[in-house]
Amino acid sequence: MTRNPPAAAAQSERLDKELREAPRTVILVGNPNVGKSVLFGALTGKYVTVSNYPGTTVEVTRGSAVLDGSPWNVMDTPGTNGLTPMSEDEQVTRDILLWERDYACLQVCDTKNLRRGLLITAQLAEAGVPMVLALNMADEAASRGFQVDAPRLAAVLGVEVVPTVAVERKGLAQIQAALPGARPAKLSVRYDQAIEEALAVVTPLMRETGGLSTRSLALMILGGDDSLRAHLEATLAPAEREQVEEARRRAASRYPESLRFVISKQRLAVVDRLHDQVVVRGARSAASDLGRKLGSWSTHPILGVPILAGVLFACYEFVGVFGAKVAVDFLENQIFYDRLVPWFEAAVRFLVPWKAAQEFLAGPAGVPFREHGGFLVGRYGLFSMGLSYGMAIVLPIVATFFVTFSLLEDSGYLPRLAVMMNKLFKRMGLNGKAVLPMVLGLGCDTMATMTARIMETRKERVIVTLLLALGVPCSAQLAVVFAMLAGVSAAAAAWFAATIVMVLFLVGWLAAKVIPGRGSDFVLELPPLRVPQLGNVAVKTLARIEWYLREALPLFIAGTLLLYVLDRVGGIAWLEQAAAPVVVGVLDLPRQAASAFILGFLRRDYAAAGLFLHYEPFVKAGTMTRAMEVEVVVALVTITLFIPCIANFFMILKERGWKTSLAILGFILPFSVGVGATVNQLMRWLWL
């Protein structure tokens, strides 16, 4: 299942080799949106791999660099605000620092946000991690009238402090020179007596892990870090755990707030003192004011709306129209069906001269591939369907989406988008961040399901996945929806739209009540708006496409294989037979609708299926009756609510696991038919 395309395999082999040979590692750490990945790109150059941190859906990027004449591994970590994690991203960063050995940290800090950067520096100092501090975006800080006395900061911390402008590669040489000599910073925080007493008990009980000092581990434990529970249970005897718990309880009883908060607060007090020593404030420049104004307009309750509409429209045009229609048409028909498939078929016939084997692989000669069941080239052929599906249909959507996503991410608009949409999505038990997968779903639900990862809690991911599969029509469904709605009255179209919107809100609201867990708190940092760096967008996009090819392409191949077998044993015809009574009896639809549902789900061929051809002459002649319009609305509602395609289901399976996937399937199947039947009855009663 983890087959790499040859080029990527060669690349990652080469990288693997370099990584094995490199004796030392540098890990980039920093708050979100401080330009870590740009600095990472500048340090590492071309060969970069993106992979999920084991057991999570968080991306970690690795590369290599030559520093001081010797090879180093370089790792980029998700942005974090501290070593005591508040989210999965932050936990990944902490775990990397905890379990890696013999590394140096390159802490990247947003100069104008030095205070929050130093909060991390203080924790790295507590952990005894050798480090170099990069004061990035020094230009942006200067234009805001923010000057940091770097030599003085370096003298206090006892580590190299380098002002950088990563996007212009300024300061890069100094960083490369400083990293081999990285050493732990001297910024020790002495806590209140109660906390120090507890630390004196807990610290000696901690075991060295490689990355972080025992004092820093003890502080995490006192702060009530649940993610370390397993580690504690593995390394401490029950009596020792009891001692730790007792010390924690005793310290906690001294403060009304949580210990974690008290620790942060006392750290911040030390950081604030240092901050005031090294920061000089001057006047803002006019350019920075424009950026700030634009930033505040983009979240303004009135001005923000046209900006939001413009951005969403541009995203839809680029991903939904250019990616999902123009590029897909071109790749699917011009490249795959007209050229690659015939060429591949010819190659198979040339290489496999035996007639029986030829027919098994590529079907009888002279018959169009959609009309036979060849294994490689055929209706459900691995090449003609599986590969063309993954490469010609989904890849363009994925690529355009990744470009859009990187642009939104790097420009700083993404969180503002969430701010604008927050109220709407609250009603569906989600928060504003969910707008992204939802809009993407209009292009391809399969892809969108993958991006449900940007939601913070499992509960929200499940709701997004469910709503995508249920109510967000993908481009294939939309094409049919638009084509059919053009042929019916405005009232019928309104019935359709109202039903879908109502279902989305109702199911979202209900799911939020039923699915256990808490939604995440909407506390979101809004970075300043910036012009995205095209180089960085390109690197990110390429790395993510490679990841897509590795993770999702096998799913499309596997789905095709299943269909092939199903087709061979007559399962598809049987499914159509089985669905017919439901379609005819429950939904009052003509028999052809059954094959539209089944083939749409399996092959994404909604338009080709008989149902829509059935109404075409009436639409053209203008002789659609109201009863027919009801049929069309019911068919469209049911198709939209149904899971868009089999690949989408496989993606749900992969992302959410067996149990949740079956629950989602078990809900959507009867629910979509049930809503269809209800709409049918209501329309006949109220409207006919």
Partner: protein, 218 residues
Amino acid sequence: MQERKLEELLEAVFAEREQGRAEVDGVLAHAGAHAEDKSEADFVELESMGLVRRENGRVTLTEPGEKRARDVVRRHRLAERLLKDLLELGESTVESQACEFEHILSQEATDSVCTLLGHPPTCPHGEAIPPGPCCSATARTLRPLVTGLPHFELGVPGRIVFIAPKFHDRMDRLAALGVIPGSPLRLHQRSPSYVIEVGETTIALDPEIAGEVFVKRV
């Protein structure tokens, strides 16, 4: 019975009920320092005064008892907020002083403190402060020194006095962003979400969380 002792006992019954308990022994164990040589007999006396009811070792408040208990608890917890967040005294001083204040503050002074603090919903320990007559929206005539973010002016420099979150981890999350009591703050907008600027960091907040952040002008 002495006034102070009476109030301490009623307060203890009220606080125990918040924890879902009503056993006489528990109440006696938790009653404050002013209730010297307290015993079960005291509750018999309180019952005769019509302030509590006793039933199989459990003690509950009557309507007049409830009212007096509420007022004591309200004075105690408001005093804690005042001493801790505004005067920034240490934990032990806060506790001992609050125990004094609860017996001496007049109704008028209590409401003034409450208004001054922007009608805080909870004490520093996260327990609810029973609302007084000043807390209903129509009665807001005095200009408070401390207000929740929803009532703070836009664009005016302010400072966070305290955060009274429903969930502890919210405060941790805010602290990680550098938002703690004492941080300077400016409110940019209230809708569609709250947007605040703390130092050079701009943060969007749910209205629910914004309501838990209390600030004063500087």
